[in-house]
């Protein structure tokens, strides 16, 4: 048996020799999937949060103290998210954790944040994050149920009753599918076919063919991943001309570019960020949206997306809560956050309460469509 101890020692010694961290600014943790399968969510969120923090510090920070954001890249894996959450809470003693980007990761660390009494402001959309309400857990993206209501209202007005549902096999897709199946009867809508497709699919012709076979009058494609553009292209390519509804996960101009001409006429509910410059001046969100859009696009040379907006709202909610509480005591900041109303964010006007840790309602949504490759508000 060769003597194994020498390399084992070298491995374990390497662990001990890492630097300690300084600790006077307000520390805020952020767990985002900057790389990996959900990088299109985490990357814009991370850039936005860091931009927000730098602007905040330039204006004197919070309560006179600098804000230090510690961003951890979970790569979309729940076990890393959990490990980072424990580090941020126990070691870095962060005031709050922003993110994670995906619902799956949020569900994994939700229990820990409750137990450790640490604020969690998630950028993931699934309704189950805040329903049933957990004391310390909030989320910035709009409610899936509101998006579904917006879509079904429009369908009802167009007399569409037989619908096909396609959703991606992610937390976002699963949450949307559940809400669609739950609320369909309320609007007299019958879901004739429902399929879950792989988030990394390379072609979905077979799936849309199944929809065509079911003779549906419209398709709802609930996904936040790039693969959703395939559904739109493939549907048009096999000759389906029925209306296609997307979810608020379509809020990234790259998806319109990916779907190209097929995206014309697609209808989807979204925050007003994507049509900021077209909004009327007296709209409450106009000023915030335009400022964020200009700042982001100037700084990062890439189009703004609603996903980045979720990061913006998370920082905004935290900053306002700390200002209102006038202290960095966790319990006070939490109570302040829960009491925030009339706060204008990119996803809508937040009205938090003890029973609603999302604070957005149907009004946060606007039905948008795509015309000549650009987002425009749908003329009702």
């Amino acid at each position: 048996m060769r003597n194994p101890i020498l390399p084992l020692v070298t491995c374990l010694l390497a662990l001990v020799s890492t630097p300690a961290r300084a600790a006077d600014p307000i520390k805020v943790g952020a767990i985002l999937s900057v790389t990996g399968p959900a990088s299109f969510l985490g990357a814009p969120e991370s850039k936005t949060i860091q931009m927000f923090a730098e602007d905040l510090n330039a204006k004197g920070g919070l309560l006179g103290r600098k804000v230090e954001v510690i961003v951890k890249d979970s790569g979309g894996s729940p076990e890393k998210a959990l490990s980072f959450a424990k580090q941020l809470i126990e070691e870095d003693k962060v005031l709050a954790i922003l993110g994670p980007s995906t619902s799956g990761e949020t569900m994994q660390i939700k229990g820990l944040c409750e137990e450790q009494k640490t604020l969690l402001i998630s950028c993931a959309a699934a309704e189950v994050i805040v329903n049933p309400v957990a004391k310390w857990v909030f989320k910035t993206p709009q409610k899936d149920s509101d998006a579904v209501v917006k879509i079904f209202q429009h369908m009802k007005s167009k007399g569409l009753t037989k619908v096909g549902v396609l959703s991606s096999n992610t937390g976002f897709g699963k949450a949307g599918k559940e809400q669609l199946e739950k609320l369909a009867p309320n609007f007299g809508v019958q879901i004739a076919a429902s399929e879950v497709y792989d988030k990394a699919a390379t072609d979905l012709t077979a799936e849309v063919t199944k929809m065509k076979g079911a003779g549906v009058q419209a398709i709802v494609n609930w996904s936040i991943e790039p693969a959703q553009a395939l559904v739109i292209k493939n549907a048009r390519q096999i000759g389906l001309t029925i209306p296609i509804y997307q979810s608020h996960g379509f809020g990234n101009i790259n998806y319109v570019k990916a779907a190209g001409a097929a995206a014309e006429g697609v209808i989807f509910p979204a925050g007003r960020l994507l049509v900021a410059d077209v909004l009327s001046d007296k709209h409450p969100q106009k000023q915030v949206l335009v400022a964020y859009k200009k700042g982001y696009e100037a700084r990062f040379k890439e189009d703004v997306s609603t996903f980045g907006g979720h990061g913006y709202d998370a920082m905004l909610l935290l900053a306002e809560a700390v200002k209102k509480a006038g202290s960095t005591d966790k319990e006070k900041v939490r109570a302040a956050l829960e009491g925030l109303t009339g706060l204008v964010g990119t996803a809508g006007v937040f009205k938090m309460s003890a029973t609603d840790h999302n604070g957005l309602d149907v009004e946060a949504f606007e039905l948008l469509t795509v015309k000549d490759g650009r987002f425009v508000t749908l003329a009702q």
Binding site: L6, V9, C11, K72, P78, E79, K80, G111
Partner: protein
């Protein structure tokens, strides 16, 4: 030979203790959490090292068996059976204590399977799956075996992501702790961080003793014979198919055991635990640790998992892993435990300190 093995395990335990005290001394007691998680992942790698290093069979689907163990115990300990409380069999199980009522995080009471029977069922389920799959799979060799195990891993991953009862993409959360003795439970409670660290290190040490004994026993010799010259082993009366199958089942069992404990420690499990990339990482750690070396694999997987879970490499985590993979495989094909790498380390170390004018002793070991 037996004393050598016990001495090694004792040294490992002392090292683990030193690491823990070192962490606390440096003001980082929290490292124990990541070390605990890494210890459970190391258990999977060590089990795989038995299969790959000794029986010479590759498996690209071991994350699948980890997931069967994890999901099995997670499902059984969170599935609320109170709906069919009246069923006779349920009452019997409840009487035996196999099914218990416990408070759920939102104030209600839930009737679920007790974590221990759930753990036993989950591990047995994984071993049964390995048995069923192993019989046809192990007739194949080389690339075909890699493909078949990759296929099995893909199927398990697709089921984990696709099944509504397993929480689809969100996985299962809210898994209760696995109760051990004197109130200690395998779970995320920060108060029990030290206890959990020693539970993980203890489990790893016990499995190492068992595996080291096995490797040095009749069965171990038969496995190494199969790896050395399979048809000669056959002629010596070794039923090679049965031994390969049993090793496959044992290593799958160890992976499932790790899945059960880590799922309780994390309080949940997600479909990413069953992904192919995870299986690939386990295989890589075995190769980097040295194909036939259980200790090498243990050391490497502890270190790599710890660094990845601590997020030291930030967004470059995968890139660093890829670089380490290539580096070790190019320069030291037998992994870090190979004699030539040790010769380089020893030579380097000797050059550092002012060596007495002793003549350089010719290294007697031959590379394998």
């Amino acid at each position: 030979m037996r004393s050598v093995r016990l001495r090694q395990v004792a040294v490992f335990l002392v090292l683990a203790g030193a690491l823990q005290l070192g962490a606390i001394a440096v003001g980082k007691p929290f490292w124990q959490t990541q070390l605990t998680m890494s210890a459970y992942y190391a258990l999977v790698a060590v089990g795989l090292s038995l299969l790959m290093g000794y029986a010479g069979q590759i498996s690209l689907g071991h994350a699948g068996f980890f997931a069967v163990g994890g999901y099995g115990s997670a499902l059984l300990t969170t599935w609320d059976l109170s709906a069919h409380k009246a069923a006779g069999v349920l009452q019997a199980l409840q009487a035996m204590g196999a099914v218990v009522a416990r408070p759920d995080p939102f104030g209600g009471t839930v009737l679920t399977v007790h974590p221990w029977p759930a753990a036993v069922v989950a591990v047995l389920l994984a071993m049964a799956a390995a048995w069923l799959v192993g019989i046809p799979v192990l007739k194949l060799s080389g690339h075909y075996l890699a493909m078949a195990t990759l296929g099995v891993g893909t199927i398990i991953a697709a089921i984990a992501v696709g099944t509504q009862a397993l929480g689809a993409a969100d996985g299962i959360s809210g898994v209760p702790p696995l109760p051990l003795l004197l109130g200690v439970g395998v779970g995320g409670a920060t108060s029990q961080r030290v206890a959990n660290y020693w539970v993980a290190i203890g489990l790893l040490a016990v499995c190492m003793i068992l595996l080291l004994n096995l490797v040095d026993s009749r069965v171990g010799r038969a496995l190494r014979a199969i790896h050395g010259a399979e048809d000669a082993a056959d002629a010596m009366g070794v039923d090679t198919a049965r031994y390969k199958l049993h090793t496959f089942v044992v290593s799958a069992g160890l992976a499932a055991l790790a899945g059960v404990f880590l799922t309780h420690f994390n309080g949940g499990i997600g479909p990413s635990e069953a992904s192919i990339m995870k299986s690939v990482k386990y295989v890589a750690m075995v190769a980097v640790g040295g194909m036939g070396s259980l200790w090498g694999t243990l050391g490497v997987s502890l270190l790599l998992n710890f660094l990845s879970l601590r997020g030291y490499f930030g967004t470059l985590d995968d890139a660093v892993f890829g670089a380490i993979l290539i580096g070790i495989m190019l320069f030291s094909p037998d992994g870090i435990m190979s004699p030539d790498l040790r010769r380089i380390l020893v030579a380097g170390w000797r050059r550092l300190r002012p060596a007495p004018a002793s003549v350089e002793k010719g290294a007697s070991e031959e590379g394998r």
